[in-house]
């Protein structure tokens, strides 16, 4: 489906870069105003994507294709479907909030900081909308640079170590991705790097297995999945607030998005072959992350480990390969972006006052910062997955999907839900309740309007998605069904695959007789 010709996506992707140019032209004091204006404009411009989106088709929409390099055939090709659209909107929503929260927190090199944020926005949206593998890879790698700078320049005392660790981990993963992309290109006939075309091609099972693990290396580090998660706490702790928010809310989603866009549709046989391994790692991440969160005395580390646990739900949902699981996973990606992003914003706001992230230094906030306490409680409870709030719907879908796959997996994951309540509420107990630390009392003034403005939109989405998720779910249905049917097709052909028959039963629309050619070997 075409968008009537107007290049909405190109506008959304490159508008931030125009903002960068503008920032270079104005004086430093105006940089943050320009950044705020441009990123808000990007958000507004991204709304038509949602409004004009046709929910009835799994096809790519707002597609634009222009030749970039003739030989080998590499195109500038962009488009969105029900999987990428929510993530694009999440990115455009969060960037202005990141600018707002850095308003007074960033005092040095404001211009460069804002430029980094905007470049990051371009790169992340670019990743979500790319329909050409090379273009995708360019955006994918570009994204590392602003993030590296955000941590390395405006980060905490140990920032250089954290920045290099972040860079090395993710780079090590993505070189394997590059190799896989090139192998795909050659196998599919050296015609193009078009992602859709590559998705429709068929690859022999042994090659799928190799490629699966190459993709896995890139995406699992990004998610991050256990045991590749150790870069995350370091990066979060050292990053400035806006960096943490972008990292948690957007960057981590890229890994999960990669699984959905590449691993599942391109490598269906391998996906089914290895799904139990990934599910196992997901469940381990859920429980392990929760236990780790228990042990933390640093607020940011606590939230970072809770991210490991929550992203475990996302990968769990993706790899149970049924409609509930995948829709839950996409919804949970958005929810995690909102909730964890908001929690990092909350930590940033209190850090600006007390200059400490230690739970012990930030206690008894309810008395002196009631508005702040209210927001913190809302987001914490959202993180716990309280019904009526956003995460519940996502977690419910994921757990239900997992349950259709295997009762044991769902039961183990449900344990994570209990643990989440325990570590989050224990954190609240220490931060909100009690009396403030003596030397901090004078610093604990409540939030100002700018800060309220940073958190209020996210609180709004917490309840909206919790109480009326239909608009968001409607966007996903067609694309997810398409994805699931492709899996089901392979499964029927394979016969002896380790997939529970209930998955097929859960998708009554799946064809009973598949395309026999899928079984290439």
């Amino acid at each position: 489906m075409s968008s009537g010709g107007f290049p909405w996506l190109t506008l959304v992707v490159f508008l931030p870069l125009l903002g960068v140019a503008a920032i270079l032209l104005v004086e430093e004091a105006l940089a943050k105003w320009v950044a705020l204006g441009v990123s808000s404009l990007v958000f507004l411009v991204s709304l038509p994507l949602w409004i004009l989106f046709d929910e009835s088709t799994p096809a790519m929409q707002f597609v634009e294709t222009h030749q970039w390099i003739a030989s080998p055939s590499i195109n500038y090709a962009v488009g969105v479907d029900g999987i990428s659209l929510p993530l694009v909107l999440l990115t455009t929503l969060l960037t202005p909030l990141c600018v707002l929260v850095s308003w007074t927190a960033i005092q040095t090199r404001v211009r460069e900081f804002m430029i980094s944020l905007l470049v990051m926005e371009t790169a992340t949206i670019g990743v979500f909308v790319s329909l050409d593998f090379v273009l995708f890879y360019v955006f994918w790698e570009t994204m590392l640079i602003p993030m590296y700078l955000l941590i390395g320049i405006w980060g905490g005392p140990n920032r250089v170590y954290a920045a290099i660790k972040f860079f090395l981990y993710t780079l090590a993963g993505s070189v394997l991705l590059l190799v896989a992309i090139i192998v795909l290109y050659f196998y599919a006939g050296k015609e193009s790097f078009d992602i859709l075309m590559l998705s429709n091609a068929e690859y022999p099972a042994w090659l799928q297995a190799w490629l699966f693990w190459a993709f896995f290396a890139a995406f699992a580090v990004k998610v991050p999945m256990f045991p590749f998660h150790t870069w995350l706490p370091d990066a979060h702790v050292e990053a400035p607030t806006a960096g943490s928010v972008m990292l948690a809310s957007v960057l981590l989603k890229l890994g999960a998005y990669g699984f959905l866009r590449f691993s599942l549709p391109m490598l269906p046989n391998a996906t089914q072959q290895f799904t139990s391994v990934v599910l196992f790692l997901s469940v381990v991440a859920i429980i392990y992350g929760a236990y780790m969160a228990f042990a933390q005395a640093d607020l940011k580390k606590l939230i970072a480990y809770s991210s490991v646990s929550h992203m475990g739900f996302v990968t769990l949902g993706i790899f149970v390969l049924n409609a509930q699981g995948i829709e839950g996973a996409i919804l949970q990606m958005v929810n995690h972006g909102i909730t964890t992003g908001a929690l990092f914003l909350c930590v940033g706001i209190v850090y600006e006052r007390t200059h400490s992230r230690e739970i012990a230094d930030n206690s008894g906030l309810a008395a002196s910062m009631p508005v702040y306490a209210t927001f913190l409680v809302i987001f914490a409870l959202s993180s716990v997955g309280l019904p009526g709030m956003n995460s519940f719907v996502g977690e419910f879908f994921v757990l239900l999907g997992a349950f259709l796959w295997s009762k044991a997996v769902a039961t183990a994951a449900a344990l994570g839900v209990i643990l989440a309540a325990a570590y989050i509420l224990w954190m609240l107990q220490r931060v909100i309740y009690g009396t403030p630390a003596q030397h901090m009392t004078s610093k604990l003034h409540d939030m100002n309007w700018r800060e309220i403005g940073t958190l209020a939109p996210l609180a709004f989405f917490v309840f909206w998605i919790g109480l009326y998720p239909k608009p968001l779910l409607d966007v996903m249905h067609a694309s997810v069904d398409h994805l699931v049917q492709k899996q089901a097709k392979v499964m029927v052909v394979d016969g002896g695959s380790p997939v529970s028959p209930q998955v097929i039963a859960a998708n009554p629309s799946s064809p009973k007789t598949g395309d026999t050619k899928a079984d290439a070997r």
Binding site: A295, A323, L404, K407, Y433
Partner: protein, 660 residues
Amino acid sequence: MSDLLVILIPVFPLIAVLVNGLLGHRYSTDLAGRIAVGSIGLSFLCAVAVVAGVLSDPAPREVIAYSWIFGGDLHVNFGFLIDPLTAVMLMVVTGVGFLIHVYSVGYMHGEDGFTRFFVYMNLFMVSMLLLVMGNNFLVLFIGWEGVGLCSYLLIGYYFNKVSAAKAATKAFVVNRIGDAGFLLAIFLVFVNFKTLDYLKVFENANRLSVEMATAITLCLLVGAIGKSAQIPLYTWLPDAMEGPTPVSALIHAATMVTAGVYMVVRNHVLFDMAPVSMATVGIIGGLTALFAATIGLVQNDIKRVLAYSTVSQLGYMFLACGVGAYIAAIFHLVTHAFFKALLFLSAGAVIHSLEGEQDIRKMGGLSKKIPITHAVFLIGTLAIAGIPPLAGFWSKDEIMAHAFVHHHYVLYAFAAVGAFLTSFYMFRLTYVTFYGQSRVDPKVEHHIHESPRVMTVPLMILAGLSVLGGFLGVPPEHGWFHGFLESVATPVGAVTHEVDMGTLIGLMAGAIGIALGGWGLAHYLYAIKPGTADAWSERFAGAYRTLLNKYYVDELYDAVIVEPCKRLGRLWDWIDQHVIDRFIRGIDRGADVSAAGVTWTEKHVIYAGLNVIGYANHLAAWSWRKLQTGLVNHYAAVIVIGLFLITHFILVWLTGTSLL
């Protein structure tokens, strides 16, 4: 029109939550209180209108507000089910809830965070109404978690008290254990029925195998045990008394904690198919009824005695469910809501008049100073102890008689002993608090005053209900109440036991004897021979201390579950930093080393040939030096090239095709 009335029931308090929550700081607390109480009054009126409709036509009716979530073949509406069971719950929740709200205006007067208190209370009402009105498992679950949340917020209402914060966290986390069970039950229901709507599920219930029905109901039971504070998940409820007293009355006595009983009765069609689950429900109920009563014997905090008595009375309701006496369970739920709300609120009035004192050892002789409070507390005690013709007698007698008649003699014995203990500890509480010598702190003594009308009027209404409420269910098994609930709470395939009048009268006489026996013992120990109790507690010091420390169950849970959890977290933290991270960095280093290896090969093998030309030394030295700089991009370039070559070789080796 009537659909709108149904939807408005939870909407009124929701509006009050939003108005008071967002704008509450702009106007006086008086107005905030009026908005809060008024909203409950309005929803009570709507509820009355809806219940009147049910009285004329008891057929179940569904009202769908909107389509909530769907994905794959899951489709859940935000909808309500109106039938006699819901009607009864609506009356209890909005009626008793309204009285407690009115009382709270007086009780909380002048407290910091008055508006916040009412925002939480109204939010609680919204959740509780969703819980009892939902037409499917998921709406029930929203309410279920929502009441847990409000309970959490209200227990921790005095946020500068660390003990309150701990109690709040404990309540939520323990409840969460139950909720996880409930969630699994929901999944099992969905897998088997492809829907979560009650009516469709119950219609097709006969499709289930006994094993599956057992699995579902046991999971549901785990949820019910958490919410209704039964063994082994009861420990949060006594600690929950850290919250303000109206909270204890509303949430931890009259409504929320009975949600487990409601849920079991709502799903009785499933429970009826699973004898194992039924037996489990009955045994847990019976054990809890007795066990909690023994702890209640020796507690000295007025609210904690009532809390253990709540746990114990909830045990009776579970026992009733377990023997198939669902109507009796709901009957006891209703009468318990009346007299336990009354007891808590009058205990609150006592505490209020003593400026916050809760220790009964520092009370005594209050009957003349606060006569109204004394009168209503006494009525509550008579009702819970089972003295006829007050409400508690009829409902408790019915449960015990049902257990006996259906040959559950062990459960009957548990219930009978529990009833004796209940009567004893409640009269002990009354005697120590209101009679005898005053042991009140002299500084507080001359401030003692009766509570204001806004508190005493609700007390008197509840006292009236505690006296008369039992007649709803008279004669036993055939009262108006039984007729009303017959269509929704009669066990599937139940065999009616026609029992001769003699047995029933004998059982009734026995129940009266038990209640009077407990009263008599309390009278002897605390009025005739005061001091005997202390002597006994010294003589049986071991037993006394065990009871006083609640059988050390909290300590046991701490040692066996809580501490190991925290320790495991710390251990894993160490492993994460010292093993996993190091392992991954080891892979990095391995990559570095192999990159260095490739470079070495390059230098000494490949470039060795180029050396002949003369460039090589220069290049190799350059690359070697660069490698030592530690620049990320150089490492990366080496890794990329290395990996590319490796892949290339593998492909060539496997397929014979070249990439280049």
